[in-house]
């Protein structure tokens, strides 16, 4: 088992290096670099060229063939050297260290992802099970129609609708942000709800919870729909298996069969999907975070892309890659626990 984990971690390092190369090359291939964005309407070509030089953007990207003696004096190797020291560089214009930003923003993404996934599982799972048990009946059609709408609704549109309806029209929930302006809390974990509970500040916890509802629903809708569909098909497959029929024939009650025999086996593909979704969500939800002014990774990377802030994009993407790889590893390991047929040795 530990050998397997070690092998996987080794593979992860390779993946991350690969991703760093790809991201590094890609962001520099996009026309329009930070110098252009910083200067905006003001930028004449001369000014852009001068600023490029100041920002060190005129160094070769990967290898310096002009000066073979300085073959490695390039943007990539400088960056790689920094990364090995645990430093992802600074925002080009803001000069804020990327690692600081990731550390400050990850808790917000974690919190949002957790609630989005909770919503997705709590709604998607029962919907899938109910649909499977009522195959081709109105309930099934209803559940599947809702999930179809969920998958096809653009998240920014859904987000805007939710914000408008629940905060402007009804006034039940705050339209965006993470905490009301009158409240503040000294962070312990950076997860506001948890910190509120830990510090006995129930008002903060409740306020933070109210803030997370709408973005979590908006973000969780697509995973919810996917989970519902996978659960349904997986349940149907299991319910058609011989051992389920045997269990029913032995006179076991239907509910008992569903819960004890079918559900556990049907859960395997669902767990995979939940894991994959968790990985995706933890990488930062660009649109949802932007619409709801949620201070997480997604809005940070989005801003970075828009401003062509290379260190921010590189750091953000590499960090997200690490997170996704780790989550996938955890999913694979949980497989071994759930499915006795799977062994990692």
């Amino acid at each position: 088992m530990s050998a397997y984990i070690f092998k996987r971690l080794l593979r992860m390092v390779t993946v991350v290096i690969g991703i760093s190369l790809v991201v590094f090359g890609f962001v520099r291939m996009i026309p329009g670099d930070p110098a252009v964005v910083i200067l905006g309407e003001r930028g004449s070509p001369e000014q852009v060229a001068a600023l490029r030089e100041k920002l060190g953007l005129n160094k070769p990207v990967f290898l310096n063939f002009q000066e073979p003696s300085e073959l490695f004096d390039t943007q990539y190797f400088r960056f790689a050297g920094q990364v090995l020291r645990g430093d992802l560089g600074e925002g080009i214009q803001s000069r804020i260290p990327v690692t600081d930003q990731l550390r400050n923003r990850f808790p917000a993404t974690l919190e949002l992802s957790f609630w989005a996934l909770t919503f997705a599982v709590l709604v998607g799972l029962p919907a899938g099970i109910i649909a499977a048990l009522n195959r081709n009946r109105p309930l099934d059609n209803l559940a599947m129609t809702i999930s179809l709408i969920g998958v096809s609704m653009p998240v920014f549109w859904l987000g805007m609708l939710l914000a408008y309806f629940f905060s402007v029209v009804l006034g039940w929930l705050p339209p965006s942000g993470q905490l009301s302006t009158g409240l503040s809390i000294e962070p312990i974990t950076g997860l506001y709800i948890l910190d509120g509970l830990l510090r006995g500040r129930l008002d903060v916890a409740w306020d933070a919870f109210k803030h997370v509802i709408l973005p979590a629903v908006a973000l969780g809708t697509i995973p919810m729909a996917i989970i519902a569909r996978i659960t349904r098909s997986s349940m149907l497959e299991v319910l058609g298996q011989d051992y389920v029929r045997t269990a029913r024939a032995k006179g076991l009650a239907r509910n008992r069969v569903v819960v004890k025999h079918a559900l556990r086996n049907a859960m395997l593909p669902v767990i995979t999907i939940i894991g994959l979704q968790a990985g995706v969500l933890l990488g930062g939800a660009v649109l949802t975070e932007t619409i709801f002014s949620w201070p997480g990774l997604g809005s940070y990377i989005y801003q970075g892309i828009f401003e062509r802030d290379y260190p921010v994009i590189q750091g953000g993407v590499i960090f997200a890659a690490v997170i996704v790889s780790l989550v996938n590893l955890l999913v694979d390991l949980s497989y071994a626990i759930l499915d006795p047929r799977v062994h990692y040795s």
Partner: protein
């Protein structure tokens, strides 16, 4: 446990009570890039900096008229090459450092002198805006500034390489807030980032900055000017205009700027809100590339100008939030316009068609019309505006293919030969002088996007820069106005009034045409 819970609730109740007494929440269009003065140009940074820092020169509420700031008075020699600023006494930075001539020189050297160690250029600082507005940096031939010296503790002298009559306007621009030398030296290259306080002499003191979320400021109780009556000012970063409007309507923010023009109706229909038209200090225009084989003919360019009904377009897309005139300058600077140029463009498709025929294109031709993919204050909704322009052009036989690109790419490609045939762009002013507008697009350092650079214009611009007083400047700018109007290379479409809005209990907010104003005169009258 129970007791702590009760105390927590009591604290919360107290906190909420204090909130009603005066926390002002501003919905900002985004997060500041940095709170370091002299190193940024984005509006989100400037609006926060304006609260923390003072500039040497200030502007009268709602105008571009100069009033004393950290400098009580300023005088120039006859040819505007030596400027002497008398400084305000007994002013302290928020960290207790006294404000004096040394502090001013410290700041100026950071911006201007590439060798200044506290400029941290080796760590990526670029002080770009100084070079833009002041011609260049120390040691460069183009630098307007020649030296800055201390006459005594409260007198600073700026010696310039050439006459620059609007020097006070420029040094007073919101970019050049005076920061505490002590704080800068202490924080080094980290100064102005979220974990480090920004320290000025301004009406508000930096409290905290939660990245991606908000910045908190508290009033400066020993401010030299009008002391704020508020308990706290909060800047929340809300990128989407529609989200800002939602927040405003829900009452979770008190005021905001840069809403979509279409939202004016919504704002007006909500009895809790007040719509605020900001003064216009921008121009949105259509830029024609004279290296294009059709557009090199001035008749073609004039035909294009005549075929577009700018008044109607402004009416349709901006309503009362925009104004069209035949000048590159916003209405505030009408004094610099020529009497010979009509106040408005002539809209005459028939005459335009005739001009095209005279130029040899009776059946028109085809070219690309580029519009930006982002909302800018001068073109909040570029695409439909581009569609309207294209429709007008098709009526005289010109087929305009609409195109767009990512903003960064757009900005870069416009200057790459051959450039765009025709594209939409604009300008937001920095200070109240026509030079700031004209030089940006017609000056020697302007973009290469139109390939139109007659020497005559350059000479006139240089002369106007050195002319003292409006009466000397006006005739020169009138000439510039005539030349550019007749050339029809950059066709002004609109001067927009950015839409802002506030809850009705926000009192005393006077938006500045220069884009940022201090919030120290704002009071909350009955905020729940």
């Amino acid at each position: 446990m129970k007791r702590t819970y009760l105390t927590a609730l009591m604290v919360a109740a107290l906190a909420n009570g204090a909130l009603a007494a005066g926390t002002l929440v501003y919905g900002s269009g985004g997060e500041p890039v940095s709170l370091e003065s002299g190193n940024i140009t984005d509006g989100n940074s400037i609006i926060v900096q304006r609260q923390i820092y003072d500039t040497l020169v200030d502007f009268k509420d709602g105008t571009t008229d100069l009033i004393p700031g950290l400098a009580l008075s300023w005088t120039a020699n006859k040819d505007a090459t030596v400027w002497t600023f008398k400084l305000r006494r007994n002013v302290k930075f928020h960290d207790g450092t006294p404000f004096n001539a040394d502090a001013v020189i410290f700041n100026v050297n950071r911006w201007w002198d590439p060798k200044d160690p506290t400029g941290y250029r080796d760590q990526g600082r670029n002080w770009e805006i100084w070079g833009q507005l002041m011609g260049g940096y120390k040691g460069e031939k183009s630098s307007i500034l020649k030296s800055v010296t201390k006459v005594d503790d409260y007198t600073v002298r700026f010696t310039l390489n050439s006459g620059f009559t609007v020097f006070p306007d420029v040094i007073g621009a919101g970019y050049f807030g005076i920061a505490s030398p002590t704080a800068v030296k202490k924080a080094g290259a980290r100064y102005g980032t979220p974990g480090v306080a920004a320290v000025g002499t301004g009406p508000f003191i930096f409290e905290s900055w939660k990245t991606g979320d908000r910045i908190n400021l508290k009033p400066n109780k020993s401010y030299w000017g009008t002391k704020s009556k508020l308990d706290q000012v909060v800047f929340r970063f809300i990128k989407e205009p529609s989200a800002r409007l939602n927040e405003l309507r829900a009452g979770t923010i008190d005021f905001t700027s840069e809403l979509n023009p279409d939202d004016l109706k919504t704002v007006r229909s909500d009895k809790n809100l007040v719509a605020v038209k900001k003064p216009s200090f921008n121009v949105g225009f259509l830029s024609l590339n004279v290296s294009n084989k059709y557009l090199k003919d001035v008749k073609v360019r004039q035909a294009i100008s005549m075929a577009i009904n700018k008044k109607e377009i402004v009416e349709a897309f901006w309503g009362e939030l925009g104004q069209s005139n035949a000048s590159f300058l916003p209405p505030v600077m009408n004094w610099a316009n020529s009497k010979k140029v009509p106040a408005d463009y002539k809209y005459d498709p028939a005459a335009a068609k005739k001009l095209l025929a005279e130029a040899g294109y009776p059946n028109g031709f085809e070219l690309d019309l580029w519009y930006m993919p982002v909302s800018r204050p001068y073109f909040p909704t570029p695409k439909p505006i581009a569609e309207a322009i294209a429709a007008e052009l098709s009526s005289i036989g010109i087929k305009a293919n609409l195109k767009t690109k990512d903003w960064a790419q757009y900005l870069e490609d416009r200057n790459k030969a051959p450039g765009f045939d025709m594209y939409m762009i604009g300008w937001n002013g920095d200070y109240g002088d026509p030079d700031n507008f004209y030089s940006a697009y017609y000056g020697p350092n302007a973009s290469d996007d139109s390939n139109y650079q007659p020497k005559e214009l350059n000479d006139l611009l240089a002369k106007a820069r050195a002319a003292v007083g409006k009466s000397a400047k006006a005739p020169l700018y009138a000439q510039i106005h005539e030349i550019t109007y007749n050339a029809a290379v950059r066709i002004p479409v609109v001067h927009s009034f950015p839409l802002a809005a506030a809850r009705s209990y926000v009192k005393g907010w006077v938006p500045s045409p220069l884009g940022s104003e201090a919030f120290n005169t704002i009071t909350l009258d009955g905020k729940k």
